[in-house]
């Protein structure tokens, strides 16, 4: 199954390498990874989606916490969470098809960000499925180039921290009836 962690890390050289190397070394596959700044200076946010058995979730979290530069790990998999991807799509567009494409773009609440004589560039954000859907519909027009990001994730409301702790405890229950730790 896919487990999504939102990992806040100190913005030190090599920190991304440490996180990805750890996941690889423990034998799990990373299916998506996104890095960016947070609004706290010196702290970056890594959203990492790992393919693993649910029983491994708490252990991966515990391993991440062993990295000195990791500030906070949230397993958001079981929480009410907004997931987003972003894609830039360059699609061929002739004078005849341009209007049609722009209507489709509207329906998907995407935006045209560049117009050339024979193509359009579309920016779309949303879930993976939505982006796939848009691509399917645009494909017949001729896709020239597609760039997609990894996944971003943020828990809804302010339930995150408390709920994350509870979710982690629930994960432990898979392995152990009673586990006490806080990190």
């Amino acid at each position: 199954m896919h487990i999504t962690y939102v990992v806040h890390v100190e913005d030190k050289p090599g920190v991304l390498n440490r996180v990805s190397s750890l996941v690889r070394r423990r034998g799990y596959n990373i299916s998506s990874l996104t890095v960016g700044h947070t609004d706290t200076p010196g702290v970056s946010c890594i959203t990492i989606v790992v393919e693993a058995d649910p029983s491994a979730a708490a252990r991966i979290e515990a391993n991440l916490y062993k990295l000195v530069h990791v500030v906070r790990v949230e397993n958001v998999t079981a929480l009410p969470t907004v997931y987003r991807f972003l894609a830039l799509i360059k699609v061929s567009a002739s004078v005849e098809t341009r209007t049609q494409i722009m209507q489709i773009v509207d329906v998907f609440r995407a935006r045209v960000v560049d117009v050339a004589t024979d193509s359009l560039m579309v920016e779309v954000t949303g879930t993976d499925e939505k982006i796939d859907g848009l691509l399917d519909i645009l494909r017949p027009f001729g896709l020239l180039e597609v760039a997609r990001t990894g996944q971003l994730a943020m828990t809804r409301g302010n339930a995150a921290r408390g709920a994350a702790a509870k979710a982690a405890a629930a994960d432990d229950a898979v392995d152990s009836a009673v586990v006490s730790f806080s990190v």
């Binding site: 090599g14 708490a58 252990r59 586990v179």
Partner: protein
């Protein structure tokens, strides 16, 4: 505040961390540090290979509980350290390795002896640092020591560029204190989990403690002893747990696992409760996980949350300092009502004793087990024994009965051949008054025997017992058992070890008969300098019992019994 160079700051910080001895080898990129070292109260041991430096730092740390320090230059000096760092990582040993690096302007340019050692050691260090400025040195060193020894200890590497060593800056040790966030505080164990564990203990009819390295690393041997004495619970130890409870203690059953005692492994399979303290259910102690201790509930106490449930599902997992847990349990403990269980364990034990090679009549051959047994008797079980990896390591664990923690020093997790000789140098430096013995195979000895020169140069009193069987013995044993005796690449031609030692100015003797062992060992103990023994032991002897890799823990290959040869023996 004074103005110092990065190199001076490095040594000043090390001295303030309590470092008195370092093990190292110089070279261009670390030269400024070496030059500055002369001004500081540091004893430096010149090793013969940087792998040796890391094992020495490791042996130093294991023997003393202090952080060991190794130093090397950039490039090949640094890469030579990797095996020793990985060894320390697997066994949770706190060491700090300091490497020189090319000038910061040259990094990334494939400069002479440049090597990305922080990249290379990323998966085998607890943490590592690249320091490119003198004003980062103090904070880095202070943090490195804290990281190495806190929580589950481990190796830390600091790579310092040459210009960071050479340039100067204002030095304020106090201001460089590490932040609290560096260390993950383990919470006190929760009452609920502690109570839950005690409830399981109260209900158990056949409880058993699995005692590991964590008891020694966590300095909790006194608390553990009290726990065992109060409850009367039997104890099985891991290889690295040896010494956490005296071997002579009536509750100490001995070592578990692949070459553990048969009664110990059988007891694990029959137990209804396992209390794992500071051990990690390594595959060498569990055998086949699908059939491992199926009758037992499991309580697992470890300081590392990532260990709980990793290999074996647990009923109660407690992530905390072991001493805290044992102290919290102590007031509620009572003597367990497990007389039947103890009788059962004693029966298992009696059955195995008749097969013990130690109890077999002398047939004129010299067996490794005899040699170890005789060294144990001659040293009253009080020596610090540093072993290498292989058959002799297992025989040592079986036949040298350790009474104190930190008296068996051995590479468990990584199983690094070549560990013993350098690690013994570290142990001797840490405990100059201890009687230090090396027990090593003819194969592993030749991996790091260059450190004989270090022993000679440092004038160290270390006794070296080469268990010479003419083979890479442990591999030969696997070939005998599992590859129809096809001895591919295991017969081993060795130099004349006696002459070799003498070339280093070290006294040496070849011993071929049982009756010569004790007198020779006694004489060696009286000799002021190092002594090396070439014990010519039975060549095709095997370590029993043996649980083949991945087999069920109770399906051991037993030593053929001389008295009762029955079908059930295998």
């Amino acid at each position: 505040m004074e103005r110092l160079t990065g190199a001076e700051i490095l040594w000043d910080c090390l001295v303030r961390e309590g470092v008195t001895d370092v093990f190292g080898y110089p070279g261009g990129a670390i030269l400024p540090a070496y030059d500055a070292m002369l001004k500081y109260p540091i004893r430096h041991v010149l090793v013969r290979h940087e792998q040796g430096a890391t094992h020495m730092a490791d042996g130093y740390a294991r023997a003393s509980g202090k952080v060991g320090v190794a130093v090397a230059t950039s490039g090949p000096g640094a890469t030579n350290m990797v095996t020793g760092i990985a060894t320390a990582m697997m066994d949770s040993v706190p060491i700090v390795c300091i490497t020189g690096q090319v000038g910061s302007k040259l990094i990334g340019s494939d400069a002479f002896q440049e090597c990305d050692i922080t990249g290379i050691t990323l998966p085998v260090t607890k943490h590592n640092y690249l320091v490119t400025r003198a004003d980062e040195v103090a904070a880095t060193v202070r943090e490195a020591f804290l990281v190495a020894k806190s929580g589950r200890p481990g190796p830390v590497l600091i790579d310092i560029t040459k210009d960071a060593q050479q340039s100067s800056c204002l030095y304020d040790w106090d201001a460089a204190a590490p932040s609290d966030d560096v260390v993950r505080r383990v919470s006190a164990p929760t009452d609920a989990s502690l109570r839950e564990a005690l409830a399981l203990l109260g209900q158990a009819k056949r409880p058993l403690v699995l005692a590991g390295h964590g008891i020694i690393l966590g300095e909790a041997t006194a608390e553990f002893r009290r726990f065992v004495d109060t409850t009367g619970i039997p104890v099985a130890v891991t290889l690295l747990g040896i010494g956490c409870l005296p071997a002579s203690h009536p509750s100490n059953l001995g070592m578990m696992g692949m070459h553990g005692e048969a009664w110990v492994n059988t007891a694990i399979q029959e137990a209804d409760l396992l209390i794992a303290l500071g051990m990690r259910f390594d595959d060498r102690v569990t055998g086949n996980l699908k059939t491992y201790a199926l009758n037992a509930k499991k309580i697992h106490v470890d300081i590392d949350p990532a260990e709980i449930g990793k290999n074996v599902p647990t009923d109660v997992g407690i992530v905390a300092d072991l001493g805290d847990v044992l102290r919290a349990w102590q007031p509620s403990l009572t003597r367990l009502d497990i007389a039947d269980w103890r009788t059962r364990v004693d029966t298992l034990r009696g059955d195995a004793a008749v097969r013990d090679i130690k109890n077999m009549p002398d047939d004129g051959h010299l067996y490794a087990a005899h040699v170890i047994h005789d060294i144990w008797r001659a040293t009253n079980g009080q020596a610090v024994v540093v072993t290498d990896v292989g058959q002799h390591q297992m025989w040592e664990a079986q036949y040298y009965h350790h009474e104190q923690p930190r008296t068996l020093i051995t590479s468990g997790g990584l199983g690094t051949m070549g560990f013993a000789l350098p690690a013994a140098i570290g142990a001797k430096k840490a405990c100059p008054d201890a009687e230090v013995w090396v027990v090593v195979g003819d194969g592993g000895f030749q991996m790091t025997m260059c450190e004989l020169a270090t022993i000679a140069q440092e004038n160290l009193k270390i006794n070296i017992a080469i268990i010479n069987n003419g083979y890479l013995g442990m591999v030969r044993q696997w070939q005998e058992f599992f590859y129809e005796r096809r001895y591919a690449a295991t017969p081993l031609l060795s130099p004349d070890f006696v002459k070799l030692a003498e070339a280093f100015g070290i006294q040496a003797h070849r011993i071929e008969r049982r009756q010569d062992v004790v007198p020779a060992v006694d004489a060696a103990r009286q000799h002021h300098g190092a002594v090396l023994f070439d014990f010519r032991v039975e060549q095709e002897d095997s370590v029993f019992p043996m649980v083949p890799a991945g087999a069920d823990l109770h399906k051991m290959i037993r030593r053929p019994s001389p008295l009762a040869e029955t079908g059930a023996d295998r």
